[in-house]
Symmetry: D2
Subunit: 120 residues, 4 copies
């Protein structure tokens, strides 16, 4: 198992910021999902709603992987960065003037950057 899982214990310090951003992005996407359902119209189109849910679930999963020092954390963060970017773009397209959407898009972009920094 040594080849598939890192040493367990305190996780590397560079993980801290990304874990925090993933938890925050999960929370922000849940807030925004609730907002979109209350708005209706373009906010509840399938592509947007599903991206919001995918982003929330994958951010939560990625945070756990990093917290557990999983040897698959980096690889999962690569996918997470792409989903976060797509979710941010979708929020911009649905309503670039809506402050809840913009707050969510900003959080998604910050989380995407943190996930990419993990990879490098």
């Amino acid at each position: 198992m040594e080849t598939t899982q890192q040493e367990f214990g305190p996780h590397p310090k560079e993980y801290e910021e990304c874990i925090s951003d993933c938890f925050s992005c999960y929370e922000q996407c849940t807030v925004c999902l609730s907002h979109c359902m209350s708005m209706g119209g373009k906010h509840v189109e399938a592509k947007h709603l599903s991206l919001m849910m995918e982003c929330a679930q994958l951010c939560s999963t990625s945070a756990s992987f990093m917290q557990f020092n999983s040897s698959f954390a980096i690889e999962l963060c690569q996918v997470c960065a792409k989903v976060c970017d797509a979710c941010a773009t979708s929020c911009d397209e649905v309503d670039p003037e809506d402050p809840v959407m913009q707050e969510c898009a900003a959080m998604c972009r910050q989380c995407a950057d943190s996930c990419r920094n993990m990879v490098q």
Copy 2:
């Protein structure tokens, strides 16, 4: 459906603190769960580990229910308060000197109080 679900829209302001505490407690329990696994011994006894996982999952679920203004949110918070209290007690029993356990116990008690305030 009017009898089983509140008006959707901006959720009541008194929800805000409890939603925030539930998200924070979910995050703190995930951190502490990782810590317990790395410690071994009493930290990985079945009763303690399962309570940590139950508390994390129910806090996350309760936060979503409040965020969605579910008419079942209050009832779920009643159960969540009990699980948070039990998790705090378990953390104290496993190691009252361990700072990670104590931080988790404190967060669980704060979340339990917030959930009880929802009920009243």
Copy 3:
């Protein structure tokens, strides 16, 4: 901790059916949620969508609680039964002719019954 958590070990046999129904209902609600998003219109109204997501998440959480022999499992199943019933009613109201909705409603009612049987 003895007062807040049952003896750990093989869970009572009467749990088996309810655990299985909760996992199946979680899966069915995820399938139906995807269907509703693709349909649009009444299928994506806030009250319905949020009930679908609440039901999926609480069924998954309840299954874990039973699997872990949590002393809070019975209490959580009481709430789960109500959410499942509300979700079934909502599926009926959105489209009583839609086979995906009807399959989901039937699964929700079966899960609600199993959860109530746990309680008695």
Copy 4:
């Protein structure tokens, strides 16, 4: 958004088996996780427990991504296949004679194969 998300609607038929396997693997890992906690000893070593939790959470997330026809589903399944394989190996290493562990290992390998078939 057209470039980051597939057409929404009924998902491709080749997804069906993989979605079903991911849901089943999530369920089986939850069952096995409960078993491991009740056994103690090697069953609750950090590397094994965290792999069980990672596998359960990622299988559940991957199933949702496929269900929602996410354009990131294939990429996520690539990571999921690796986690499933690592979890199966870990179950074998912990106790190759334990029937619960062996059932879990078999389900993980079946799910890994399904996820790899998605990729090809």
